[in-house]
Symmetry: C2
Subunit: 263 residues, 2 copies
DNA sequence: CCAGCCGTTCCGATATACGGAACGACGCTT
DNA sequence: AAGCGTCGTTCCGTATATCGGAACGGCTGG
């Protein structure tokens, strides 16, 4: 890590990430501008990646897009998320019980990545998408994941993250967020109302692996209007139980928790 | 393309592909051996990719595994497969009608990649997985995709592919396969019985995009025992119709086919 | 307690990847 | 119709980034 990273590989990685904007296809010149690299460099990167199947060229427009190998790799990751198997039926049950969109998210840096979801059957519903990335500090899943993260990770996050204000209700002060996370840790669940987007509410609880470590969060998202109609305590209980159900499937037994030293 | 590919990026790509074996995590030394690179080079590749989130280190074992960013990228690819949206309900309908496992596959080089699937409800069923790769020459989906591929692609495939024998029924002679593909092209569907694995049968039909180009194949897979019980012609008709249904959703209108010149 | 493996770090020689400029093709405007 | 802008692609020389080999400390199992 003290080593200087490989420049070319870093460029290739950033190039791939440029496609996370979900644009259909990107051209050489466009990428050259976004990455601040010469056109020839980008072109060489693209042809190299194309030879490996990571990108492919649109024969009509000349632009490039992500290749099937990337899709394959993504599926390979999904397989190792035992979550995908463990959470499936629990998500369905939770959606049935609450009628709202349900998601499972994992922590990655300063963001939450949704790795599984089921949408509400209501016409007015939260639109989520697997593979989507949302901030930690203004989502219930994010708060859960950060609340139960190892202390050094949490402190490092609080020290370095930019707590962007999305609404007047967003927590933007590190100290305030630290206290909120302590509350989450104590009561075992988190909520977020109007914090990321006005009119959107969510509630989440932790999922633990066989070692008792919190590896993901399960939660629901709903319009604030419907959210208010449900007794908060009761809803929280439902979701915490859903999280425990998934945890049990991952091999965690509540009775004999494995003590983790936070070094 | 006449350019020499970027060595480091090629190495990085091959490194990522090493994880396609679906092993939980791989170590530096192991990868060094498989890729034929120095340990230090592999280590630098890994730390670089880790900094970008494409891989992550297992803190317990020290090994590395694919990171969440790869999952994100994979999901970004899925979005642009309009197939995923177009084929969903058709797949469900097809499974309901036939009771068997159904899949949608796309061509990538000498392989077929399954991008969508629904499993049979029978206890004895074909196990498929999205992101899986199977050979072209011994699968019904593969034959469909290659039969309708542009002629130069097909001829290049027949000239360069190694038609590995999986069973006594596998077509391993290029000339024989060429004739089989001509038949597929003429009648509009393909089957494969005992060709990849004894006891497994499949039948597939093409899916066309708005330009009339065959971009994917839809099909079913079943144990030969059940397969025999269904009248072949009738089953083929069902699947061809399913393919046409997906094609229509992709914007293809049968009445006004766009003529493609095969340069 | 030692032997062998692991992941990590350092270093010097050389191959390599970068930016800049030029090319042919395409599409839009004038 | 002609011209201008942009596209993706190719070529080239130089600066430097990348590779393999060797050495290190930690861990595990014999």
């Amino acid at each position: 890590m003290t080593d200087a990273p490989l420049q070319t590989v870093t460029n290739a990685a950033r190039l791939l990430k440029a496609f996370l904007t979900r644009e259909e296809s990107l051209g050489v010149s466009e990428l050259s501008r976004r990455l601040g690299l010469g056109k020839s460099a980008v072109h060489r990167l693209l042809t190299t990646l194309a030879a490996e199947g990571l990108v492919e060229q649109d024969l009509h427009t000349g632009g490039y897009r992500l290749g099937l190998v990337v899709f394959e790799l993504g599926e390979a990751v999904r397989v190792h998320m035992d979550l995908h198997a463990a959470a499936g039926s629990v998500l369905a049950h939770l959606r049935e019980e609450t009628g709202e969109s349900t998601q499972v998210g994992m922590l990655d840096g300063h963001d939450v990545v949704y790795v599984d979801r089921l949408e509400s059957s209501h016409a007015l519903r939260l639109f989520t998408e697997t593979g989507r990335r949302v901030p930690v500090h203004c989502t219930s899943s994010g708060k859960v994941l950060m609340a139960f993260a190892p202390e050094p990770v949490r402190e490092r996050y609080l020290a370095t993250a930019t707590l962007a204000r999305h609404t007047p209700h967003t927590l933007t002060d590190p100290g305030e967020l630290r206290r909120a996370l302590a509350t989450v840790r104590a009561r075992g669940w988190a909520d977020a109302v109007d914090e990321r987007e006005i009119g959107v509410a969510s509630l989440a609880a932790p999922i633990r692996n066989a070692h008792g470590v919190v590896v993901a969060a399960i939660g629901i998202g709903a319009p604030v209007s419907r959210f208010r109609a449900i007794p908060r305590k009761r809803l929280a209980r439902t979701i915490v139980e859903a999280g425990e159900a998934v945890s049990r499937r991952l091999g965690w037994s509540e009775e004999a928790p494995v003590l983790e030293k936070e070094s």
